[in-house]
């Protein structure tokens, strides 16, 4: 235990020593139905395996669901919210799928079911908020989303349009981009009223996006996505000593430094409504 590390719930950090720590639901959408007009996400199983191992090592009860349709995603989230989390300290939801742009001032974007329709991230987080899941009230609820928004490729600044063709990236690089959806239902079922913000503020929720909705997220068919690969490695190397926000800063930095064969840029997004530091409890291997 590093000096100064608080194991118990305190002003500074969340209590995270329940054994096991909590549930971790991974939704891994790989094979999309032809009618969805979305391509299969080759390489996603690699991401899924990495994160399953990682969150087991962080003492979570990991449940993997593969190829869920829109309604099944909502069903799984609803089932997770109806579980009794009283004896746990945390809850994690990981979504690996195609994504699309949906505007929202806290949690923008949406994640596609294998049948096509997309579940807004705001709705995904709402399933676990204090109102819908009282046994997680005051406990950190973490969402990791490997997906992307509209079809915009963020090429950085120095690249001319002529050079920024995906063919430069090589055949192994696929993107999670899909055509823009126009759906933009704003759902507000948040937790608490913040003294400063005039809209109710979600509390104890953190969403980490592989990229801001609206930009491409890179996935290699052989090695998985940059974001998951980096997240997995940073968690492996630093979870024993650093808090989650610090580690996400490292992830964001590394992913943004990377670029698909030197052309495309990707910047992950962290939308953090946690009230305290969060230290995981890695299990001795």
């Amino acid at each position: 235990t590093p000096p100064g590390r608080k194991r118990r719930d305190s002003i500074q950090s969340y209590k995270m020593d329940a054994n096991p720590c909590g549930h971790c639901l991974i939704i891994n959408n790989v094979d999309f139905e032809p009618l969805s007009e979305l391509s299969n996400r080759t390489g996603s199983n690699i991401d899924c395996d990495k994160l399953e191992r990682r969150f087991k090592a962080l003492n979570f009860i990991v449940d993997v669901k593969t190829n869920l349709k829109y309604k099944q995603i909502r069903h799984e989230l609803s089932a997770l919210s109806k579980k009794d989390h009283s004896q746990y300290d945390c809850c994690v939801v990981i979504m690996l799928s195609h994504g699309t742009e949906v505007s929202h001032n806290r949690f923008p974007g949406a994640v596609h079911g294998v049948d096509g329709p997309a579940v807004p991230v705001q709705l995904i987080t709402n399933y676990l908020n204090g109102r819908h899941c009282p046994s997680l009230q005051g406990k950190p609820k973490l969402f990791f989303i490997q997906a992307c928004g509209g079809g915009e490729r963020d090429t950085g600044f120095e690249v001319s349009p002529d050079e920024s063709r995906p063919s430069i990236g090589g055949t192994d690089d696929q993107t999670d981009a899909i055509p823009m959806s126009s759906s933009s239902d704003s759902l507000s079922m948040s937790d608490e009223t913040d003294a400063r913000a005039t809209l109710p503020t979600p509390s104890d929720i953190l969403v980490s996006y592989s990229t801001f909705p609206g930009y491409v997220s890179w996935r290699d068919t052989q090695s998985g996505s940059w974001y998951v690969e980096t997240l997995d490695r940073i968690l492996e190397e630093n979870a024993a000593t650093d808090d989650l926000a610090t580690m996400l800063m490292m992830v964001n930095h590394e992913v943004s430094q990377n670029s698909a064969k030197g052309v495309y840029k990707q910047m992950p997004g962290s939308f953090n409504f946690l009230r305290k530091h969060l230290y995981f409890q890695p299990q001795p291997q």
Partner: protein
């Protein structure tokens, strides 16, 4: 992805700036207007023209962009003007809110 759409009220900097006329505000109106905020006409309450996010109870030392990024990190105006790296730096800063 921004598409040209019908005119949004308070979309222009000047409009937002003018909304503060006759309003006593602890923050310089030009800084608020630049950060996308306009006055609701009630106390120090401001709203973002793009995301609709509101902030009140301002302290003189506060930075409008920082507050925008702290409370409404999903705002597309904020993203376009400041970039995701800036938003992340506010969202992951120490100590947490």
């Amino acid at each position: 992805m921004q598409h040209s759409s019908p005119r949004v009220p308070m979309e222009s900097f000047e409009e937002r700036l003018n909304s503060f006329s006759g309003i006593q505000h602890p923050i310089h109106r030009e800084r608020l207007a630049r950060a996308g905020f306009y006055s609701t006409g009630t106390g120090d309450r401001v709203l973002c023209f793009r995301c609709g996010g509101g902030v009140k109870d301002w302290q003189p030392e506060e930075d409008p962009w920082e507050e925008h990024a702290k409370h409404y990190p999903g705002c597309s105006f904020l993203l376009a003007e400041k970039g995701q790296e800036y938003i992340n730096s506010i969202q992951l800063q120490d100590p947490p809110r």
